[in-house]
């Protein structure tokens, strides 16, 4: 058996940093699925709709609407990072905050939250097994997404193998931006790969995402080469004027169809991201961006279809 196909000894105590679990995920693969959102991503997409997914460590979020101005947090904060403001209820000095989580303990209204929980393979598996009957009855399973799955490759591999051992269908969602050795370890225990491509133009990619797309594209080729039977679904998050252009869809479609990939999902822009930025004490740079018109999405779809792809628009 080649090395990359060999099953590793599962470490049920391996820990991953998780920022969310959705036990009834509907956008991350077929059937009823548990989506596990891993925290941390090396890309810094300015429009990212999960800003809490980016950092690789725990952090604090503040949800002003929930705050009842009890001011308990002022006393609990050892770093003096919280102050009172009559109109904003409380103000967090984000530079001082070290995300120790003390304030969260006393925040009963849950206005303050600690984003990111360390969980073991065993803990996650227990939840997944609880819902296994739903996966079995709907051809569903679990999906590891993020953040970037490959950043926590070791933990992810242990978890995926643990799922396989229990007969649970597995999927990962990745940008493919990773050292090949890390990404490679995730492929054997994965049944379905949801592979995100953003901009095909290297210049656009570098400018908007802060990193080159070379690793992403190369890794996709490698997956096709070393794991030709693996089911892959490509996904393009449609970011206004970055990835939702006709040119980008032409290029993407050409690239993936040449690799023999059949399925493409187009994800219209998600307008609801800006609120999350507020909670993280950040400003959303694109408050005026709107989701694409159905007509535009249909146009992109027909372009991709012209390359022989099966295309769906996933809202």
């Amino acid at each position: 058996m080649p090395a990359h196909k060999k099953k590793l000894t599962i470490d049920y105590g391996a820990k991953g940093l998780i920022f969310d679990i959705d036990r009834f995920a509907v956008h991350d693969g077929p059937g009823i699925r548990m989506a596990i959102f891993l925290k941390g991503c090396e890309w810094t997409c300015s429009w990212c709709h999960n800003p809490e997914s980016q950092k690789r460590e725990q952090e604090i979020a503040y949800h002003e609407k929930k705050c009842i101005s009890c001011l308990t947090c002022l006393d609990l904060c050892t770093e003096k990072a919280i102050s009172y403001s009559p109109d904003k209820k409380i103000v967090i000095d984000w530079k001082r905050c070290n995300a120790c989580g003390q304030c969260v303990k006393g925040c009963y209204s849950e206005a303050l939250k600690l984003i990111g929980t360390w969980m073991t393979v065993e803990e996650l598996l227990r939840i997944a097994l609880r819902d296994k009957i739903f996966y079995d009855c709907s051809a569903g399973g679990v999906t590891l997404t993020g953040g970037e799955v490959a950043l926590q490759a070791e933990f992810s591999a242990h978890f995926l193998w643990a799922c396989k051992e229990q007969g649970i269908h597995t999927a990962i969602e990745t940008s493919g931006f990773s050292k090949w050795s890390r990404l490679k370890s995730l492929i054997p225990p994965t049944d379905l790969i949801l592979y995100d491509l953003k901009a095909m133009d290297p210049k656009v990619h570098l400018k908007e995402i802060g990193m080159s797309n070379r690793s992403s594209l190369n890794n996709l080729k490698r997956i096709k080469e070393f794991f030709p039977e693996k089911e892959i679904q490509m996904r393009v998050p449609c970011i206004p004027e970055i990835s939702d252009t006709e040119g980008n869809i032409h290029e993407t479609s050409q690239f993936i169809s040449a690799l023999g990939i059949k399925k493409l999902a187009l994800l219209p822009y998600n307008e609801t991201a800006s609120a999350k930025y507020q909670w993280m004490g950040r400003a959303y740079p694109f408050p005026d961006w709107k989701t694409q018109s159905p007509a535009h999405m249909e146009r992109l779809k027909s372009i991709a279809i012209s390359y022989g792809l099966e295309v769906e628009i996933v809202h």
Binding site: D22, R23, F24, V26, P30, G31, I32, I68, C70, T72, Y108, S109, E110, R130, D131, I133, F134, C137, S138, A139, G140, H315
Partner: protein, 754 residues
């Protein structure tokens, strides 16, 4: 929508129901206007009133109609829907028991098969035969009155059919279109046959059913429909075998029937005064409540098994679902029964209907409900034929009287904290069959040392309410005959003619009483919070808790947030709270069963539910330790407190599933509200089917999945004109969202805001 006839009828109805409509009033009719009736028995006068109603209420045949007969508006509690038949002293006497002249009930299903197979003629013959056997019977006079009342009312029904016959022939005479003329002539001939004689074919059977149904609904019996695809199928099957009808034609007839069920809908709130619904303090709210004037308990149950346990799904099952899918109506409220032999196609079509956002069908699980009914003493062949009442509780159709009442668990918990006093009701308020205004004294909460002390006090309050409810139900047995006997309905309930007894006197074969545990999720959450913070963590002292509840959390917002957010909530698959809900249910069931033996034939069947009254029940309880403020609505049925199911529907499902459903034969409806967008298309359908499959395999009783989305509901709240057809599920049935009051609209929005 296909077919011009159905389309035209649909459009005509839509237009009609969006305008203001006049209520039919029977205020000018009285049995006392004629001499001789003064001295007759009440049941005969009531029968005469039915006759007056059926000979005077308006008759109408719409252009293009195949099935004829109209139910007058106002039949649901508005204005004066029925002629005078009772004397003042009788009304006063019954009033002492809370029984009024407008005490409509009608939650049970008549045996429609009897009218289809025997006709009115057959029923009359049976009544006459029974009369002959009464010689020497000590209750001869009483039974004679009943049997004569049956004869009189069946004749009255025939008279109504004749009125329609005349109308059809006079319309036929004037009709220039030869096709329509022939249809009208056929209607004329059909009404000459049914419901007087047995139905000869499917069309006869549908017309016979509809006329019987409309008579009952026009005479203050809002009865559900029951297993329509079961009792009509033999007629359709025979016609199909003989080649006398095509499925397309049968579909057209079912569509027409569905339109009939919606004729009483109103988008403009009626002005007439509502029924004297006995609900302390809140009676003024009932009118608007839930757009109740558009709900007549029109429940249809399809699928399931026959009495031998074979799959009963048939072509008509699908025609019914097709009709429900075709229209954006709320009526009839359709439910589907599933078991191991149910075809996959039925699951698929049921889920496709759910996908439309209809809030229907509800899913009933034979795998649990049949054994549960057997456990409560029903023979298998009866249990296999179960259907539902006007809300969603389970009953045996055609041979059972049915009543229900709540045991308000959250109120019991309030009594524990107040030593038996309500925070809402005062001493002057009167208890009703439904809601007591006080509990018993269970001691001073300040003396509790452990959670067990609180728990025991809670159980004593609950036991007291169970005992009181059961005693009161037994006390009321047979009382309704003093003012509200139902001779025609009784003739369609097995047992009554055999015994010569009205159903209100004890004639029915079964008397079911669904005793419903109400407010379970809120109660379990409240107990869990007190257990955790007061007794385990000792974070909150009892006096702090009592003060906060007393003050409705005023100035105690932080404490309220602690209870609301930091304690485990039902619906999230957390054993520390789910375990409490299990214990409450187990105790409740055990207590009900232990009090079950009695001389009276009432069978008390436990279930869990609030129906559409989750808001109303909430208004009866002050602040509670789950972080709920006074007057706030409760969690619907066995579903979660709106917005508190943080771990998604699968976790909710596990919480629900821990309950002992095999003991809950009246059912425990799990209401799940989910985002419609997540269930679109073929993938969404697969997900939905998967979800239902799990529900069936893991043995839940009743499931309702309502698909909607928050944005749409919010928009509809602001712009009701544009969203007239938007439907939501309200406890036991579908309602038009824009007709709900603001509180209930907000409740719906909260349900979809996880």
């Amino acid at each position: 929508m296909t077919g011009t006839r159905v389309e035209t009828l649909y459009k005509g109805l839509k237009e009609k129901i969006s305008q203001k409509r006049e209520m039919w009033s029977a205020s000018h009719l009285s049995v006392f206007h004629e001499e001789g009736w003064e001295n007759k028995s009440l049941i005969l006068r009531r029968a005469r009133a039915i006759e007056l109603q059926l000979t005077h209420m308006p008759v109408d045949i719409e252009e293009g109609e195949l099935i004829v007969g109209c139910i007058p508006l106002g039949s649901m509690w508005y204005g004066t829907p029925f002629p005078t038949y009772a004397k003042e002293e009788e009304i006063n006497e019954a009033g002492k028991y809370g029984i009024g002249i407008r005490s409509v009930w009608g939650h049970y299903v008549p045996n429609f098969a009897r009218i289809l197979q025997q006709g009115l003629k057959g029923i009359r013959a049976e009544a006459e035969k029974k009369l002959e056997t009464l010689v020497g019977d000590p209750e001869r006079e009483k039974k004679k009155n009943f049997l004569e009342a049956v004869t009189l009312t069946t004749q009255a029904v025939r008279k109504l059919a004749t009125r329609y016959q005349h109308l059809a022939s006079s319309l036929a005479e004037k009709e220039p279109n030869p096709f329509r003329k022939e249809e009208l002539n056929q209607i004329h001939r059909r009404l000459g046959r049914v419901p007087e004689k047995p139905a000869e074919n499917f069309k006869d059977a549908i017309q016979s059913f509809w006329l019987t149904f409309l008579v009952l609904h026009s005479t203050m019996n809002n009865i559900p429909i029951g297993r329509l695809d079961y009792f009509l199928w033999p007629f359709l099957r025979a016609d199909l075998e003989r080649g006398e009808i095509t499925l397309a034609e049968a579909q057209e007839w079912v569509d027409c029937l569905w339109i009939k069920f919606n004729e009483r809908s109103m988008f403009v709130e009626p002005e007439a005064d509502a029924r004297d619904f006995v609900m302390v303090k809140q009676s003024q709210l009932i009118n608007r409540y839930m757009g109740l004037y558009n709900h007549w308990l029109q429940n249809v149950m399809v699928g399931g098994q026959d009495s031998e346990g074979n799959d009963a799904t048939n072509e008509l099952t699908y025609l019914c679902l097709n009709a429900s899918k075709k229209f954006d109506f709320t009526q009839p409220v359709i439910s589907v029964r599933f078991h191991t032999k149910t075809p996959e196609k039925l699951l698929k079509q049921a889920c496709q209907l759910i996908q439309t956002g209809a809030g229907m069908p509800s899913i009933y699980n034979d795998l649990v409900l049949i054994p549960a009914l057997e456990k409560h003493g029903f023979p298998a062949e009866k249990a296999r034929c179960y259907s539902n009442d006007g809300c969603w509780e389970v009953l045996i159709p055609g041979e059972a009287e049915f009543r229900w009442g709540p045991v308000h668990a959250l109120q019991c918990l309030e009594f524990v904290f107040t030593n038996g006093k309500s925070r809402i009701f005062t001493e002057e308020d009167k208890s009703t069959l439904f809601i007591p205004v006080k509990g018993i004294s269970t001691g001073d909460p300040m003396t509790w040392n452990t959670y067990e002390d609180l728990w025991q006090a809670f159980l004593r309050q609950m036991d007291h309410q169970i005992e009181s409810y059961m005693a009161r139900s037994r006390f009321m047995f047979g009382k309704y005959q003093m003012l509200a006997p139902v001779p025609f309905l009784s003739s369609l309930i097995e047992g009554c003619l055999e015994k010569g007894c009205d159903i209100t006197e004890g004639g029915a074969r079964y008397y079911l009483n669904a005793i419903m545990l109400t407010g379970l999720p809120n109660t379990a959450d409240s107990l869990a919070a007190v257990k955790k913070f007061v007794f385990e963590q000792r974070k909150i002292r009892i006096q702090e808790l009592l003060r906060a509840l007393h003050m409705d959390y005023e100035g105690q917002e932080r404490l309220r947030q602690l209870f609301g957010n930091r304690s485990p909530k039902y619906g999230n698959d957390l054993d520390e709270v789910d375990g409490i809900s299990v214990e409450i249910v187990n105790h409740f069931v055990k207590k009900v069963i232990s009090l079950g033996d009695h001389d009276l034939p009432i069978k008390f069947i436990p279930g869990i539910g609030t129906f559409e009254d989750y808001d109303l029940f909430g208004k009866m309880v002050g602040a509670t330790p789950d972080g709920r403020k006074a007057w706030t609505g409760l969690a619907p049925n066995a579903g979660p407190v709106p917005g508190m199911d943080m771990n998604g529907p699968t976790a909710l499902f596990h919480s629900y599933n821990k309950l002992d459903h095999l003991s809950l034969a009246a059912g425990a409806e799990l209401d799940i509200s989910m985002n419609a967008k997540d269930f679109e298309g073929e993938e969404g359908l697969q997900r939905l089917m998967g979800f239902v499959r799990v529900f069936l395999i893991t043995k839940g009783t009743v499931l309702n999945i309502a698909l909607n989305n928050v944005e749409t509901l919010k928009k509809a709240q602001l712009d009701p004109e544009q969203y007239k057809d938007l439907r939501v599920r309200v406890g036991g049935w579908s309602a038009y969202f824009v007709l709900l009051d603001k509180r209930n609209q907000d409740h719906q929005i909260a349900r979809y805001s996880h």
